[in-house]
Symmetry: C2
Subunit: 411 residues, 2 copies
Amino acid sequence: MSSQINAEILSIGTELLMGEITDTNSRFLAGELKLLGITAVRMTTAGDDKVQLTRVFREAMFRSNIIVASGGLGPTEDDLTRDCLAEALDESLSLDPALEQGIREFFANYRRGRMPEHNIRQAMLIPSAKPVINYKGTAPGWWVEKNGRVVILLPGPPREMEPMWRNEIKPRLEVQFPGNIALTRTLKVFGMTEATVDEAVEPMFHLGNPELGIYAKPEGVHLRLIARGEKAPRLIADAEERIRAILKEHVWGNGDETLPGLAVKLLEANNLTASVFDCGTGGVITTMLSEITDSGKIFRGSITGESIPEGWNTLEQLSQQDTISPARAETLAVFVREKFGTGIGLGITGITGISGGSGTPGTAFIALADAHGNVTWRQTIIPRRDIAPNQLAVSAFFRLRQYLLGIQTDF
Amino acid sequence: MSSQINAEILSIGTELLMGEITDTNSRFLAGELKLLGITAVRMTTAGDDKVQLTRVFREAMFRSNIIVASGGLGPTEDDLTRDCLAEALDESLSLDPALEQGIREFFANYRRGRMPEHNIRQAMLIPSAKPVINYKGTAPGWWVEKNGRVVILLPGPPREMEPMWRNEIKPRLEVQFPGNIALTRTLKVFGMTEATVDEAVEPMFHLGNPELGIYAKPEGVHLRLIARGEKAPRLIADAEERIRAILKEHVWGNGDETLPGLAVKLLEANNLTASVFDCGTGGVITTMLSEITDSGKIFRGSITGESIPEGWNTLEQLSQQDTISPARAETLAVFVREKFGTGIGLGITGITGISGGSGTPGTAFIALADAHGNVTWRQTIIPRRDIAPNQLAVSAFFRLRQYLLGIQTDF
């Protein structure tokens, strides 16, 4: 019950065939299936068309034994997924009183009103389908088992589909197809290119189990380990240890950790506040911070600008150093720390395609001022407007993290 | 030669079936086909697997007469698209000397080196295929015509695929399938919900030609008109006039125009500079601006913060009004205008889930200070962290646009 399992993913909706929305469900489901040790052999997108969609279900069930479909479970006449699967399985739809009750209650509780009559379509079921509860909407999912095949119907909106997958579908598949479930671990790396990481961890690609993947992301390079079998926890732990021994202080986090998140957490733990003078990321560093809950208590404020305003007298010395330099970064850090009255001030200066001043494109400086004095780091960045601001902001958070943890880095 | 045309879109690559990347090519191609008046009836994603992919080509060619595939044209042994199409068409691959020459020259000119020998795979062709030039990479596309079917192979990376589509494929399809080409126009709306716009323009949905679509986007509601046939330009113009008469000053732009872009352009035309004190969008307004080329000359800087730093004496009065109010927004606007020495100062204050202060969640104020005095607008926003910052930033640019154009709005 392992190598013979083929899965297919279906995305249903005419708006997908019109190019009006991007299908993100298929990628999500493909990644999730892979973690369960189930390979998707094909993904198909079909419109809300009775003949076509019925044919798509028939073909998929002929080829594969797990079909995961999303979309077309809405209440309108265009939503044909239930009807087409019924047709493909030669079964008839009938009203399920318990489902009807559930949908009426959903409207009473969350929509403060009576159920529109067309929503009754969502309470229809076929004999081989078991309904799957939807906590985020009115469309129940379907779990169908017939002739050795499992067909799963999920709602199209990701905010309904993903929780249903995680809470209801994934656990059932884990029971039904055990043994192949994977354990994963993501390690996050700063200050190395994808190619350099690839070369450094090269021997680990031949392990097979765990499987190693390298991905270049806006926040740096991610390494993903996927291990299977009884020994998975041990295999992952060993591989992680080897990777950390190779990449050393380049590894800064794992899983869902982010650099701005870690920086804010460390500031909080050290009872410190911070502010930033940003002549380099064009505000990216500020928006990254504001996306963290309650970060405003720690990060008190920022000034973003292309050049220093005249008349800010403390900064007049800067007119003599309107170039990308360590001294400029330090002046900015000291100024903003004083102005916002924070424990730490960060000063950032670099030509990123956004900020002005003169200097070498691709060279930036990050300065940190606190009660003990100043530190400055030189940061090499790719001088492209679409990359540099993000890269420089991430670098600043990395430097701040290392500083707060007392880690020396020579890169 | 119109209603009988069925198209299918294929995306090829095992990384897609693994959930490692999102397929954006299919959406792009579906939208482009729709504008040519060609309906995609199905989209399929297949891996780099000889048997499966050959089957996918055979099935698609059996059902449809236009097949557009992307991916799998690289130089490695995993890139099987050429081989599988050859197999599905019962033809043999052979080396095309002109293609080989082109690839060798590409390496000599752009990669400063000799062509790696495995790149020779990209110079293979079948008798019914004509090569399509790739200005952005080494993989030529294929244009295949056989048995009344057109099969198009495109490279997978969007930065190679999209220019090849626009410059080489689209013009050929326009010649081959004329008469159905569509003209489109997008109108952009501020200050109305999708449902309100839907209701207001309801009669226009029945026109058929032009076809009308409504889309909720982060910058507001978009209306897209698609007209076909000889009279398309006139039909679009008439429909646009009707929509503008209904929605009046809610319509602020069209096509690729953006509110920050228009605001910067208008400031430049009026020889004005600007700065912003942002206690509401958490830096979003600043990053939107910095994404506009050379906006730094016009938008001189911004201050972002949760609360006003103590000791900034001009702002001391604010400690008495640390609440969301028109007065607070005005003080911020006046302060930042003076500090940065700009013609216009914007002050933004609102509880968006990011900024602090006390006040009514969902109510924000935008103030503008210039040489003539101050203006303030009340702005209702959805008080959700994932929506409000963007909505408030867009609102500020809309207000600035209206002010600079001298347009009065009562919403």
